[in-house]
């Protein structure tokens, strides 16, 4: 399984026998850090809050370590050539998220409004389920190209997932955004899963249609204009995004899906005109919907003047939805400063509702400071970078499209959530992947990492050694190192 087992015995090596190192030991070493850092952070929270190492430290450490260990062993067995960074980075974020959720569980204020208390245990269970799905992906999906067969099923599935929150009796309206469904005592965000299923559909569809979309076009003012009938698919996706925006009043999800489609379309066709069209259409859609949808207008106003919203939320007799959350989050970031207050010593519970989910980044901002947030953003950046690298390395167009779709969606989600919480763009109801409290998000993102690992394994896996053929000796490719 190690790289040495593939080293040929003769002096020069052929392309098939280069034997890219599997890097599994690198992954293991990184994983040890990815588990140790959150364990230290957990101890730190306990010492800061109660002057004692938390009682659950051993259980928590073992739990996270066990899950990471299982994931690692499964990767070693079923995807030996996978990218070594993805699993440790996701584990690190997931572990830090657990610590922050546990830290907010200790807040009396959040307990009293039912936002916190025992959530860390739930999140650990969700993490276990996420790792379970990750294992299942690697076990059952031996080759990502299998997914190509389910292109149109994926389309149907994603439409169902997206429309579920609108089904009466199933959908739940939480603070204006209708992106949840409730099943029994659980609430699920189907959008998180739809993200992956849609990426599969787009990749399958675009792989088939890319030539038609790319070549059959007229040149106009330096842009390649697509034929009318080729505009169909992008118009349909655009329309669906607008519908999501109107009916689920969620700018983030809408932007995420449309953005993912435009990215994949651009990669498939290599036509810049699609980017221009995409930007124009999303701008027109967002402005158009904002002109009549009060929920979106409130979000935009809150973004432009968070202090005004704070004042309104505190003024008796003012009606309508006014939230002080964004201003509270900005204060949390500002109060953290460069180095932060240290674990457990901030007051991010003042954000109240969603302090441990959509707004969890503010807790990191206050307690770990600018340094901590930059590190976390760079970890996200690294995950995206490994995803893009996987797309570059993939040998089949479907794999390339799927990998770039998933990584692009991941990057957009991080940008939309972090940008919203930091007041860079209007706030939308999405969660920070891996950090935020929420089962759907954790489970779906582990599946996403699973698929990326599968594609990267396929991409980096050495081609079968060609049969010993004297002719091959004449045409061999010699690579240095």
């Amino acid at each position: 399984m190690s790289s040495t087992s593939n080293t040929p015995t003769h002096h020069t090596s052929t392309i098939g026998a280069i034997g890219a190192p599997s890097r599994r030991n690198t992954e293991l070493a990184l994983l040890i850090f990815a588990v140790a850092i959150p364990v230290f952070a957990y101890a730190n929270v306990g010492l800061a809050l109660n002057d004692a190492v938390p009682a659950g430290l051993l259980g928590y450490g073992l739990g996270l370590g066990l899950l990471a260990g299982i994931a690692h062993l499964v990767v070693r067995k079923f995807a030996p050539y996978a990218d070594p960074l993805l699993l440790p980075l996701a584990t690190l974020l997931n572990g830090l998220g657990l610590v922050a959720i546990w830290r907010l569980d200790q807040s009396r204020l959040l307990q009293s409004i039912g936002v916190a208390g025992g959530k860390a245990t739930n999140q650990l269970i969700y993490t276990a389920m996420g790792i379970g799905l990750f294992v299942a992906v690697l076990f059952f999906l031996k080759d990502h190209r299998t997914l190509q067969r389910y292109t149109y099923i994926s389309m149907a599935a994603s439409l169902v997932l997206l429309l579920l929150p609108l089904v009466p009796g199933l959908g739940a309206d939480v603070y204006g955004a209708k992106i949840w469904i409730s099943v029994g005592s659980f609430t699920i965000q189907p959008g998180e899963f739809a993200k992956i299923v849609l990426a599969i559909f787009f990749a399958g569809y675009l792989m088939v249609k890319r030539d038609a979309l790319a070549l059959a076009s007229r040149r106009f003012m330096g842009l390649y204009l697509p034929r009318g009938r080729d505009l169909g698919p992008i118009l349909v996706v655009w329309a669906i995004s607008i519908l999501i925006l109107v009916f689920e009043t969620d700018l983030g999800t809408s932007l995420l899906f449309f953005g993912m489609f435009v990215i994949m379309l651009y990669v498939a066709t290599e036509r810049t005109s699609w980017i221009v069209f995409g930007l124009l259409m999303s701008a027109a859609g967002a402005v158009g919907v904002a002109s009549f949808e009060p929920h979106i207008q409130v979000r935009v106003q809150a973004w432009l003047d968070p202090m005004h919203e704070y004042v309104l939320s505190r003024t008796p007799g003012v009606t309508g939805v006014h939230s002080d959350q964004l201003q509270q989050a900005l204060w949390a970031f500002g109060s953290g400063g460069t180095l932060g207050t240290g674990w457990g010593q901030g007051h991010s519970e003042l954000i109240r509702f969603a302090a441990n989910s959509d707004f969890i980044l503010a807790t990191f901002g206050e307690e770990l400071g600018l340094a901590g947030i930059m590190a976390i953003l760079l970890v996200y950046g690294l995950i995206v970078e490994r995803g893009v690298r996987t797309a570059l390395a993939a040998r089949d167009p479907f794999g390339k499209l799927l990998a770039i779709g998933l990584s692009g969606a991941f990057a957009l989600q991080v940008f939309v959530v972090a940008g919203g919480v930091m007041g860079l763009i209007p706030l939308t109801g999405m969660t920070m992947p891996f950090l935020a409290y929420g089962g759907s998000s954790v489970i779906a993102n582990w599946a996403l990492i699973g698929i990326l690992i599968r594609i990267s394994d396929t991409a980096r896996r050495p081609a079968p050694t060609p049969a010993a053929n004297p002719d091959a000796e004449m045409t061999q490719v010699v690579r240095p190192s």
Binding site: E270, F333, G334, S335, G337, V384, V388, P397, A411, G423
Partner: protein
Amino acid sequence: MNKPLRRIAIFCGLLVMALLIRDNWLQYVKADALRTDKDNRRVAIERYANPRGDIIVDGDPITGSVESKSGDFKYKRTYKNGPMWAPVTGYSSQAFDSSQLEKINDGILTGNDDRLFFRSTLDMITGKRKQGGNVVTTLNAAAQKAAYDGLKSRGGKGAVVALEPSTGKILALASYPSYDPSSFAGNSTDVDSKNWTKLQKKNNPADPMLNRALRETYPPGSTFKVVTAAAALENGKYTSADAATDSPLPWTMPGTTRELKNEGSIPCKNATMRVALQYSCNTVFGKIGADLGNDKMLAEAKKFGFDSEQFTPVRSNASQFSDGMNQSQTALSSIGQYNTAATPLQMAMVASAVANDGKLMKPYMVDELQYNLDPIAKTEPQEMSQPLSPKNAQILQSMMETVVKDGTGKNAQIGGGVTVGGKTGTAQHGVANSANPYAWFISYARLSDGSSPVAVAVVIEDESANRDDISGGGLAAPIAKNVMQAVIKTKTGS
């Protein structure tokens, strides 16, 4: 397909870059502004996270801090004998900010003052809890108690200020009715807000939160005649207490056909200044004022501190002596009527300057700021002005001592080697003088060694009393006497 992939990679990098830049903007450039934003609740949480320093009187704290069990503000202010000390301390409330000493010295009391930076940083490094500094006042607990109890037993409204003439130290500062700042020190809407609302003037006509000693001006009435006498001596109009003055009776005010009246039939015709002060002759002092004129009277009043706010460091309202008056208005103003108005602090300053041989010391109530018993800043006594020459001051002293010995101020006599000089006052107010007059008494005590440990001003607005019964000598002088005795007792131990 790899070219667009690389471009997408750059695009994703730009997204992360935008977030990083935004984060630097928030957490570096704007960090301090956000952290110290007054609406950021962390500012208040931090403020109440440690016990507040104390305000000290005679070595004992008159304030305290108590750990509260609910909410995110940990420590709450408490006051010992709150109503008595409220005019000194002001209040510090989680819900309603703070006032007076609590506000002015907030930095020291919370420990956030720049002057404490080095010490608190040192404490932080050595792992000690952050703590607030203490404010040591000049007040005298016994005198304050005598003042407050005196006002309280009277039951009306009133105020007392006592000063140490040689330094300007404020020894007593009482106002009645008063309020307990403990009653709204927290931030609960059930208790603290209700108590606060009840104390506001619109809900409580007695206005208990008004600091009458510093912030209310009353017509000083006859007590102002001390200032007029000082003006006569300083301007050389009369050079002796015992020379007959040029004072016809009856006396018609210049430019009018109106006679200025005296209270009852008292020997005021051409009376000496001593006799005129002893019987409180309106005609004598009204004519002195009219003869000297507005400018000279105003100049003398200003030397005593009129027409400017005092900062003790708690601000006191400016007392008033008008400018641009004609002779008859000046005459009325010179007997403490017309537009003349004074705070109790101002009239205590008048008595204090006379007692201190004409030298007026700047009144102050904060002696020292401390951190961990180390002095941070100490107030040194400061000369404010010299309204009288020492010789003239001694003439005026002998006149005021006659008032207490033989005149309207007999109720303030102490005896036992203590000489008291004083002046009563009964000021009319209201439309056509229909409301109850204010009873005034200003005085100082002099020990057998010649030193003056205390000067007092007392004002009573007694709505329940009979109009005829109100006179400075009857209502105010006994309180002044008790305050002076309390100070003398702590000074001499007898």
